[in-house]
Structures are given as C-alpha cells and as structure tokens.
Amino acid sequence: MLALWWGRTKEPATASDCHGCSLCLLPCPMWQQHRDVMFSPQGICKSMQAGAKAEDMQAVLASCVACGACDVICPEGIDITDIIMRERKQLGLAEDVCTEAQGLTPFMMSCDPRVQAQLNEHDMYIIDAAVFHQHYEQRVAHYTSLREQTGCQLNLDLNRLAIPTGIGSHSAEGGLFDVKMQWDGLMQGRDVARMIVERYEDKEQIAAWTSVPVVHISDLMPVKTHENEVDDATS
C-alpha cells in the first residue's frame, strides 16, 4: 500500500488538463511570430476545451514547426506536439515527424573530444531543436556542459530549451512560418565568427544569410578512414 502511494502515477495528460499557465508560450516560435495566444499550444488546448475542432484551428495547426519545446516545459506533461500532429492528420496536413538519423548522429559527434576541441567562444552551435527536446532529460546536461567547456554559444534560451530555426518544417515551406524572422531573433545581439549546425537543411539556408562560415558538425569530425575509428572515438 505504501509503495503504491509512494510511486503513484497519473493518467496521461490531455488537452483538457491545460489550465493556462502560459509556460508553453515562452519558447513557442509560433507564438513569438504572431504574439497571439491562439497561435500557441495553450491556445490550441484552451480552444479544444471550448469545443474547437481541427478545422477551426487550421491556420494555427499548420503554423507549428513541431520543435517540441512545449512538451518539455508543460508542467502538466501534456504531449502537445502529438495532439497537434493528430489534429493535423485529420485535416490532411503533412505531419512533421522527428526522427534522429541512425548511426553516428550529430549528438554523438558533439560528444567527441576531437570535435569539442575545435569549438570556441566565437562559434555559434545550432542544436537540432526537435531531436534535442525529444531526448531532453538526457541531452540538456551534455549541451550545457559543452557550452561551459568550450565557451561556444548555443541556441538555448533561459529555460535551456532549444530555439529552433524552423528551416525545413512544413509550416515554413507553406509560408506560414517566417524562418528569416526567426533567424534574426535568434542572432540578435550575438557576435559570432562561425556557425556549426546539426541539420543539413540549416547549413544550406543559413549560409545564404550570413557572411561567416557555416559548417555541419560532421565537417568537424576527423577524416573517417575506418568505420571503427570514429565509433571508438565517440563511445
């Protein structure tokens, strides 16, 4: 009985569990562009509580870049991205599916001491936000430590959530999310000499906006002469 009381678990949270704390607005890139609570996870959950169906929220659902920051910060533990993707599916809109590449991932590369040795305070390191948030508990400590050890700047906000670029998302491709505005906000007040990115889509687009070199994290890996050589280094 005591063990049951001690380790009691709650039912998975749903949109009805949102009680409007607004924490999800803080990292939400969609909200930051619109400054309108309707364009936020809270707005979606509260609208659903008021009876909204997917078709009532079409513009909002299509504007989400699926970065997953709201899932991490929600104190109720609502899987908001999942709700948004399910509602999108009902409308026949494309889903943004977050999958981490198999094999040697950018995260694993960032753990490599030889890569870390090349980073410094003049670098801006752009974490893949969706992947980061999906593995938040395991990875936030790593990236915080990476910043401390190398001095590099990161696209983390004060909540230690990653600010996404939005590049390559369905909402950006559909013209519903302004990636340039997002980028300008991300870089405001920063002075950097090089960009390191985890996503190839980011590399291509950011290179068109900046005069500083933009490299993919894999470009910092030592030349791969033998499969096991890299694996050994990252294990």
Binding site: H19, C21, S22, G51, R160, G189
Partner: protein
C-alpha cells in the same frame, strides 16, 4: 459566516449596444473575435474559480488601436477587461461580458539603454521574455514576480514581489515612466515629473485609471545567484531572522518558504562571492536556523514519538524528493552558483504548486504586526488543509512613492519595509468545494481587517474586503478619481469598484 463576507462573481454585462460597438470599431480597422472557440480561451484565470466569457476579444496591437477602442467603449458603454498573463486568482482578468483586451499582443522590447541601465518595453511582455532580451547584453531586470508569465503591465498595476524586493522594492517601483491609454482613449506619457498625477494613479492602480501600453524600467547587470537555505521549526523565529537580515542589508535575496509550519526554510542568496563571504563571516552565526542535515535529524526525532503525524512526515519526505531537484537543476547550476533563478523558480512554482484551482490569500503588513499575521494565518491553514505552503518576503518601501501605495497592496501604515505572506493550500489530489475555499480566504482576510493589513489579491471576487481593510475615506477618494477618469466606468469594472 457573516453575509457581507460572502464573495461572488460580478454580474454579466447584458450586451446593450454590443453590435453597434462592434460595427463602429470594425470600421476603424479593429478586429473583434466573437467565436466561442476564441473567447473560450479566456474563460478563467490562473485561480480557476471565476469563469466568464467576453462578448469579444481584441488582441492589442498599438496604443493608437487601444485608444480608438476605449473611445468607442466609452461611447457605447461597453466594459473592457485587460489581461496580460492572466495570473490573477480572483477573476480580475476574466471578462464577464464586454471586450477582453489581450495585452500580450504588445510584447516587444523597444530599446535597451546599456549606459543608463534602462529598458523601454511594450507592457504586454512577459517578464521572462524581457529577461531573454536583456540577457543577450548581460543585463537583467531588478525584481519581478517569481512567476515569469506575469506581464510587465499587469505587474506594475498591482505591485510584484520577488525574493529581492527587500533590496529593490516591489516591481512597480522599478518603473521610471509609462505610456498609458486613459479610459477615455487619450495616449499620454507619465512619470514622477510628467503627468505625475497619472503616474501616481496608474502605478499600483489595479488597472482602474489607464491601460499601460509601454514602460521604461530600471535594469541592472545580470548576476548569477549563490543560494543558501536555513531551516526552522518556528515561524516566529524564522520571521524574526528575516527581519534581522533585511535590516542588516547583508543579503541580496531573502524569503521564507514553508511546508506547513513543520519545515520552514529561510532562503538567503547573494549576487557576488564577496557579499556571500561577508555574510558567512559576520551574519550567519546570528541566525537561529539549522543546516539541512541537523534539521532533518531534529525533525525525524520529533516525528518518531508522534505516530499520528507520520502521514505528514511521509508527505514531507516525498515533497523533498520531488521538489528539491527542481530547485537546483543541474543544467542551471555551475557548482554552487545558480544561473537563471527566475526560470528555475517559475517552472518549479507551476509544477509543484500549480493546480486547476488556486487560492492564494495573502496579508501585507507592517513589521510590527507581521509575526501575528503569519501565525494566525498559519492556524487558519492548519484548520482547513493538511498540506499547505507559506511564502513570505519583505518589500522595501520608497518614501517618495507613498502616494502610489494608497489603495494598494502596500499597507499605508508601513514605514521602511512592508512584509507579505501568501497562504497557499496544496490539494494533493483532494477536491475542495468552492465554498470551503472561499471560507478559507475569508478567514485569512478577516485577520487582515483585524490587524489593519492590506493584501495583494485585492480585487475581483475579494473586492468586498477593500472598504473593510482600507476604510471608506480612501475608497471614496479613489472612486471619485475613477469616475472623473472613466465616466462610463467601463475599464476593468468590478475589479475594485
């Protein structure tokens, strides 16, 4: 319970001339959202006890847009309720008909002056977003509510307390100047020197005298935090030590956070290693609190021979297990130094104290009556709830702002410092009726009337206490000012008057 103490929702506005009003503002390019799926987003506030729907929602875009809205609202006598973060608990930001004006639409930082240490910002911004922008330049605001989804404008209207309010004063005292839209739709700038009568009324004015659209605030260099906890088993002793610390000016942050009256924590923190070292050398020995290990031993010993209290002991152990890691998350700590305390505290507040229904009655008192207010409030908490929290901080008062404090959460009889204590039940899965929660609040506020304190959660459903706590004379004076400023009495009606 005496009949006059029962608090209720305000009546819903009937909607007379609503359609004419909507047509009028639409012709001026103002969009009013009327679908239930849009108005329903604002159905309640953080308290979750007051529920009301506006006839329509307007998202703030500019001072000019709000001025046009207010001019039309005066003509058609349509109530306008302003809302920032919606973190009221007594329905103050819930619209019972009329227009709900969502100020978060105006939430951008306009200018940071790194030399003068000031920032000009739109007032619908959350304190967290202001901190995000300031941090890029190594700067920070002075003090803000622990809950970072409070808006700047809403906070300046009611006070705003932080664990450094004993050093800097309440958040409202950080404002140097404001852009305000008056209830009749004029846009004006006000400060201690420009339109000072407006500045005096709008600051801590509970949204009665104008809508704050922009604010210039004092700011400071950002510093991480060096935090220490001291544990007490007596509220009186802990509060006395808090007074002692605040008077000594040896700490940069002080506050009390409790688990019932069993585990009482005095929080002490510093902006620099030098300040921390000076405190350790000169002040620490004067405190009567214990370190964590010694306190845990004493607590265990006190519970050992009282089996009827073991349920409470288990709660404390479980609470410590869940809460403490979130108060010192590894990714915000560099050794003993905490970065971004406000992000840490804000998340912890919602995760560990947030609930679907929240009542947080409070008492704001002068030094002389504070211990009694806390002890009597604690007894009321004990009577109603098995688990609860008290949160106490000091607020340094500014003599030159005495006029701002009239009819506000700052008690008018306080000199030098005022002290505030919040009494928050923790439901722990148990459901309480609205009547029970209301009775609890009434008993807390009855103490306030008795001790001549003020209180922070001032209006809305608790506005019946304003006259009892602050007297007819001061209320009548402000009512007259309100009637002059807002002839149709439409701006944030039923919050105070």
């Amino acid at each position: 319970m005496h009949d006059s103490q029962q608090q209720t929702h305000p009546s819903r506005w009937r909607g007379t001339q609503w359609r004419d009003f909507v047509q009028d503002v639409a012709q001026q390019g103002i969009t009013v959202r009327e679908k239930k799926t849009e108005t329903g987003v604002y159905i309640t506030d953080a308290g979750g006890l007051a529920h009301g729907l506006p006839h329509g929602v307007v998202v703030a875009e500019s001072a000019q847009q709000i001025a046009q809205l207010m001019q039309a609202a005066q003509r058609f006598e349509v109530p306008v309720t302003t809302r920032g973060g919606g973190l009221t608990t007594e329905g103050e930001s819930v619209a019972f008909g009329g227009v709900l004006l969502d100020m978060t639409g105006m939430s951008r930082v306009l200018q940071v002056d790194k030399d003068a240490y000031t920032v000009r910002t739109q007032a619908g911004i959350f304190w967290h977003h202001l901190a995000e922008v300031l941090r890029r330049d190594g700067l920070d605001y002075l003090s803000a509510p622990l809950n970072l989804t409070s808006s700047v404008g809403g906070t300046l209207g009611v006070g705003g307390i932080d664990v450094n309010s004993s050093k800097y004063g309440c958040s409202a005292d950080q404002a140097l100047s404001l852009q305000v839209v008056t209830p009749t739709g004029e846009v004006l700038e006000c400060s201690d020197t420009e339109n000072p009568e407006w500045f005096e009324r709008v600051i801590l004015g509970y949204g009665q005298f104008g809508i704050i659209t922009e604010a210039t605030l004092r700011i400071r260099p950002y510093t991480p935090l060096r935090m220490h906890y001291f544990y007490y088993s007596s509220l009186k002793v802990c509060v006395e030590d808090l007074f002692q610390l605040d008077q000594s000016e040896t700490c940069d942050y002080t506050g009390i956070l409790t688990m019932m009256d069993t585990a009482i924590t005095l929080l002490v923190a510093f902006d620099s290693e030098a300040r921390e070292a000076a405190f350790m050398a000169n002040m620490k020995a004067r405190l009567r609190g214990y370190g964590e290990s010694m306190f845990a031993l004493r607590l265990a010993a006190s519970f050992a021979w009282r089996p009827w209290k073991w349920r409470e002991a288990l709660f404390l152990v479980q609470r410590k297990r869940e809460l403490f890691p979130d108060l010192q998350p590894k990714h915000h700590m560099h050794g003993e130094v905490m970065y971004d305390r406000t992000a840490v505290f804000s998340k912890a507040v919602w995760k560990h104290w947030g609930d679907r229904q929240m009542v947080i009655p409070d008492l704001a008192s002068r030094v002389e009556t504070f211990v009694e207010a806390v002890e009597r409030g604690n007894a009321v908490c004990r009577k109603y709830f098995p688990y609860y929290t008290l949160y106490c901080v000091g607020i340094r008062l500014r003599d030159e702002h005495q006029a701002h404090y009239e009819l506000s959460s700052i008690p008018s009889n306080a000199k030098g410092f005022a002290y505030g204590c919040e009494f928050e039940p923790m439901y722990h899965g148990q459901t309480y009726s609205q009547d029970a929660l209301q009775s609890f609040k009434n008993e807390i506020y009855d103490i306030g009337v008795d001790l001549e304190t003020s209180y922070y959660r001032f209006g809305g459903m608790m506005k019946g206490y304003i006259r009892r706590a602050l007297g007819d004379e001061v209320v009548e004076k402000h009512l007259k000012l309100k009637q002059e400023a807002d002839p149709a009495m439409i701006l944030n009606r039923d919050v105070i008057f």
